[in-house]
């Protein structure tokens, strides 16, 4: 950096930009090309010329006005801060209820429910290894368990996001609980997080339970049921988070998510639904990686593309249908086990990117996530991080504060172009369903994961404490791991076994037959039958197993 400045041979003949370029080239001669994770070349400087090339300020528009580059609401965070929604779920229903009530007592109105991995797999607690019960989420296998999860909680007041993949047994359990307590279903609010079966299949996550055609049918049934009977529930959460965690670049994750939303919307339309009736209840869920500006541009570009697709391709006329509402979670993949307190800084930068990207709801990861399921202390710091950004750092004072930035607008355009190009690949393969069925999306994500790993292994992508600035990390920074109390879990298991045995086997058979009838009839609503089954005391595994039998079992694709 201490080189002499480039000589100015013909002073005055040079434009300021040319002069800068000469000075820059003379000082920085490492020839280093910078490319973001999505593959877009990044120049060292963006200027008014880039803004001019990007187009008029009308294109940028105003918040709350299509195509929403600057945010989907006129007020954005200045009017109402984002919703702080932390994921919780551990141990028995009683453990969950205790944690939930302490969060509600501290003023939360939006909660979440993360079930045990056994629930995701469609297995009841009596058919899995006891060591694994409740270690990553709450063990909730029937309506009685849900009743205990929500004891002394007003289900007509609290908005609950449930990680509840197809066939949506958790929502069915919750509706039964509401019924028992005399709470009308039209008062129930929340989101079927993870209702997006395509992303589960692509990322091979724990949720892959039914065959692709079976999951497709049940999802559309679920959307149709909620539209009629649980009108304030968001039945469709389209998920980019799994795919980015599995290795998709930010542009790929956005493209695949938009393609999935299109697929599901087109499936609803084919069922005879009007896009303006269901699209306002579509929500999105994304990952926020540490690639700060790339993430901001990803969200701004995605918002713009969705508004256009909803209007032009899906034919929605109501502006509410064009709004790209999204929840985002800071990326766990970026967190390190080494020097774990550094993760607090990482999560802060990720959260800021999401906030500048215009999110509606945010989960910040705990710093100990690369080490274990987060403990209380880690979760508290994660919440405090959001409070600090919102109320100490003044990030909510101005709407879309980066709007008009030479770099951010140029990058938003470039990301938009990239995302649209990837969507074209999916379209050419016949849409997202066919592209997933053929393994195209999985192969693209696998290749991106490999490229990223090579960048880290080669040191091109620095990871502090891992491939640079390594130090003997302090094991004391790593908190003790909380595991569910085995005695309480055994009691939960014993109670479950006796409750199952106490049911009338005729009633169980009848409820299972109801599921089969709905599945076999082409026009019955399978989700309505799931709710009936939950009311009759069927368990999660019983419902999943019967639907797997009748609608087909999903097998993971093997691609290395």
């Amino acid at each position: 950096m201490n080189k002499p400045e480039a000589p100015h041979l013909v002073a005055g003949a040079e434009t300021p930009h040319e002069r800068w370029q000469h000075e820059f080239d003379a000082a920085v001669d490492d020839g280093r090309e910078v490319t973001n994770v999505s593959g877009i070349p990044i120049r060292p400087l963006y200027t008014a010329a880039d803004r001019a090339a990007s187009g008029s300020d009308e294109k940028l528009g105003h918040p709350g006005q299509p195509d929403y580059t600057r945010g989907i609401y006129a007020t954005m965070h200045r009017g109402r801060p984002w919703t702080q929604r932390q994921l919780i779920g551990l141990g028995t229903p009683d453990d969950y209820n205790k944690r939930l009530r302490s969060i509600l007592d501290r003023g939360a109105t939006a909660v979440s429910l993360i079930p045990c991995n056994s629930v995701y797999r469609g297995l009841d607690m009596d058919s899995v290894e006891p060591e694994l019960l409740g270690t990553c989420g709450v063990v909730v296998d029937n309506a009685d368990h849900m009743d205990r999860c929500l004891a002394d909680v007003d289900v007509g007041r609290v908005s609950c996001a449930m990680n509840d993949p197809s066939p949506f047994t958790l929502l069915a359990f919750m509706l039964v609980v509401a019924e028992r307590r005399g709470i009308a279903w039209d008062r129930i609010t929340g989101t079927s997080n993870q209702s997006d079966y395509l992303s589960h299949c692509v990322a091979n996550h724990m949720f892959y339970r039914l065959s692709l055609p079976g999951a497709r049918r049940v999802l559309i049934d679920h959307i149709a049921f909620c539209r009629e009977r649980v009108p304030r529930w968001n039945p469709m959460s389209v998920v980019g988070q799994h795919m980015q965690q599995a290795g998709a670049t930010p542009a790929e994750a956005m493209a695949f998510t938009l393609a999935t939303a299109l697929q599901n919307a087109e499936d609803c339309i084919a069922r005879g639904m009007d896009p303006d009736e269901f699209l306002p209840r579509f929500t999105f869920f994304f990952d926020i990686s540490l690639n700060f500006f790339e993430e901001i541009a990803k969200f701004r570009a995605g918002r713009r593309i969705w508004a256009r697709l909803a209007r032009e391709r899906l034919g929605a006329k109501d502006e509410k249908s064009w709004r790209f509402k999204f929840h985002a979670q800071t990326s766990g993949v970026d967190l390190t086990r080494q020097q774990p307190l550094n993760n607090i800084a990482r999560v802060t930068a990720q959260a800021m990117a999401g906030i500048f990207g215009g999110l509606q709801s945010l989960h910040t990861d705990a710093y100990d996530e690369a080490y274990a399921t987060p403990g209380e202390a880690g979760a508290r710091i994660a919440v405090a991080t959001q409070n600090i950004l919102r109320e100490e750092a003044h990030l909510t004072d101005v709407i879309d504060p980066l709007g008009g930035s030479f770099y951010v607008e140029s990058l938003t355009d470039a990301m938009e172009e990239k995302i649209v190009a990837i969507m074209k690949t999916v379209d050419d393969a016949g849409g997202m369903y066919k592209a997933v069925e053929a393994g195209l999306v999985q192969r693209m994500i696998g290749a991106s994961a490999m490229r990223f790993q090579q960048r880290v292994d080669s040191g091109e992508q620095v990871v502090v404490g891992v491939n640079k600035y390594r130090a003997d990390d302090d094991a004391a920074d790593r908190p003790a791991v909380e595991r569910p109390d085995p005695i309480a879990m055994q009691r939960h298991l014993d109670e479950f076994r006796s409750a199952k045995a106490a049911r009338s086997s005729a009633a169980v058979e009848q409820a299972l037959d109801g599921l089969s009838r709905a599945a076999e009839s082409g026009d019955g609503n399978v989700f309505a039958a799931v709710v009936d089954g939950a009311r009759a005391g069927l368990t999660n595994e019983e419902i999943c197993a019967r639907l797997r039998r009748d609608l087909g079992f999903g097998q993971p694709l093997v691609l290395v």
């Binding site: 995701y120 091979n204 290395v560």
Partner: protein, 148 residues
Amino acid sequence: MNDDDFRPRVLVTKIGLDGHDRGSRIVAAACRDAGMEVIYTPPWQSIPAVVKLALEEDVDVVGISSLATDHLIVPKLMTALREAGLGNVRVVVGGIVPDHEEKVLIDAGVRDVFHPGSTMVEITGRMREYAREARRAEAGADAESKPT
């Protein structure tokens, strides 16, 4: 047996309930690229299925990827492998494993635990070393069992 001839046989798999397979896929591909024979499975294998595959494929190393507490049943896998006469097969675990549970795994006979941040060069280098160990131990056991 010099380095050029030695082709470690490794099984890369996931047991238990979780399906996050980014790590197992990357490690499997890295082992393949490093010249090993790789047997790869999708997630959600049962312990008996892993034992059967290890036996049939005559592997030197079993690599278990665990991101969501599935390592808690690895001690059961170790017992099942020993009972099947595969006590010489080396088992490694990669993923999210807290300190005190790493000790439980090592005490149960797990050869090594790879944590987040391990490079592919480190992992494949150590897999190769453990495969060699397993092959030597097996050769030794064979020699002992032969009548002189």
